[in-house]
Symmetry: C2
Subunit: 328 residues, 2 copies
Amino acid sequence: VKTLADLGERAAIRRIANILTKAPGSIGIGDDCAAIDIGNDYLLVTTDMIYKKTHIVPQMTPYQMGWFLVAINLSDIAAKGGTPLGLVLSFGFPKKTSASFLTELCMGADACAGTYTTTVVGGDIKEMNEITLCGTAFGIVKKNELMSRFGTKPGDVVAVTGRLGKAGAGYYAIKHHSSQKKLFKVFLEPTPQIKAGKLLAKQHFVTSSMDISDGLSASLYQLQELNNVGFEIQQDFLPLASELKFIMKKKYPIDPYSLALHFGGDYELLVTMPAESIGRAQKILKLNGIDLTTIGIVTKKKNIILLKNNKKNILKNKGYEHFKKHHF
Amino acid sequence: VKTLADLGERAAIRRIANILTKAPGSIGIGDDCAAIDIGNDYLLVTTDMIYKKTHIVPQMTPYQMGWFLVAINLSDIAAKGGTPLGLVLSFGFPKKTSASFLTELCMGADACAGTYTTTVVGGDIKEMNEITLCGTAFGIVKKNELMSRFGTKPGDVVAVTGRLGKAGAGYYAIKHHSSQKKLFKVFLEPTPQIKAGKLLAKQHFVTSSMDISDGLSASLYQLQELNNVGFEIQQDFLPLASELKFIMKKKYPIDPYSLALHFGGDYELLVTMPAESIGRAQKILKLNGIDLTTIGIVTKKKNIILLKNNKKNILKNKGYEHFKKHHF
């Protein structure tokens, strides 16, 4: 093992976790957010860096970059059931960056923060060769309401908020030069599930939770590894995004279910809970205009099965690499 | 005004401050840290991004990069009188980065955090073209103990912790191929003044405080602009670092006072307080092994004067650009 490419991301994260001293009473590496013990509450902190060359599609406007940077960080707070307290942003810009780029970027960041009743409270600006944007969000959650990635139990049901494949449909619309700006928007201006996270956290019945920024299959594989369980997912149960109709209508050589299963960027929540709680959870979210759909069950057997057309197949683990996040 | 280079950093920061919605009860843009109202305390948050090409000298080891990233963020917490709660780090690496680089980087970050009884609680790792490191530190301070950049009053004395010119001496030692590794260390492994900050904050007599990461002159100009005051600094009073003896002995064509005044990277605290409090402040810090040296006074007149050899000159504003931080 010589380079990080040889090591691989998972092993790199394990290496980091082994080196770093653990904070007493705190939860951190391997989850969406770090959770620091501050008495009755956890302070939640999460950070995410994006970089023009590898993480930003050319069609993304500066406003959308600002929105996106704030949204992806708030999504991690949402997954833990937290209430956002604020964000700090670090910007690296080439000298030739236009002043209006900065203005629009800040407007997008401010608009997204404001939508979730929080604010950007500070940051840092530096000269760099390429546009590099680092966001850190912090929030708060009562200790007994924290929803962790750890805790998935065999027999639990698996559910997702909202609809899947929105980002995938948006990506394909852009790739195939569609003029449907609405499709771009769902992809480029994701909506973190702050409300759903808080509502679920208050009920105390969620056994594990994470955001599915990396795609559903990648997220399921992460939960599987962390909790030493397996899943049986019913393809027919997946709540397909209405935006996928575009893909189906145009007959692109891509399976809409494949986008719903593997494409990152939907920023919905993936949660597990005892079967007897799902009805109540769905009712509470429904009252707030949020769908919660059962997509399968947690199994003792440690593989991940996709049931389609009454056939069982191993679900492939292929999150969309371009927007993949690698938390440690 | 077309590009950020036309706009200039100060104007860029003002532009950002004008766009962003302000959080009620919180202090933010223009200070070392954002301070978020969480009841009896402020949550302090600061972020800083470094980038191999422009912010890291080639002689810096991966361990030192990790130390440095943590230290510069903790220094901002120190300047507000805060107690660190933790840090999150975002790393961007090229694929070819060695696995041992990651190990040493994390060891340096962990060692610096541990020295100040805090921990790295999480982060993010991404593939990028160039090594890019973003750190975010968070801490806590009682509301009535927060030391802000705002509050400098005419008649106050101006003081600095520790000694100045350490980083400048280290930089020159590296530049002139010295073999004195001790000199590199003071430059490449700075020591945030957490203890000094906390001790001063508890006394409630500091009227304004900031870290002098950008160099003393740049820091004085920032306080001057924020507080609409002036300064009279006595060159003879400046506490020169013993490391500057190297420069003086070798007779490099550089004035040691110039390094003490203008070179960034010392990470000491610059504070102002009423004249009657300085004796007590010095005594308290001395008991903890920390020097606090009066270097001048705050004036009503809005310029910054350097007194040397009984002559008054306007102090030039020339912080070391390479390591300059641009907070907004």
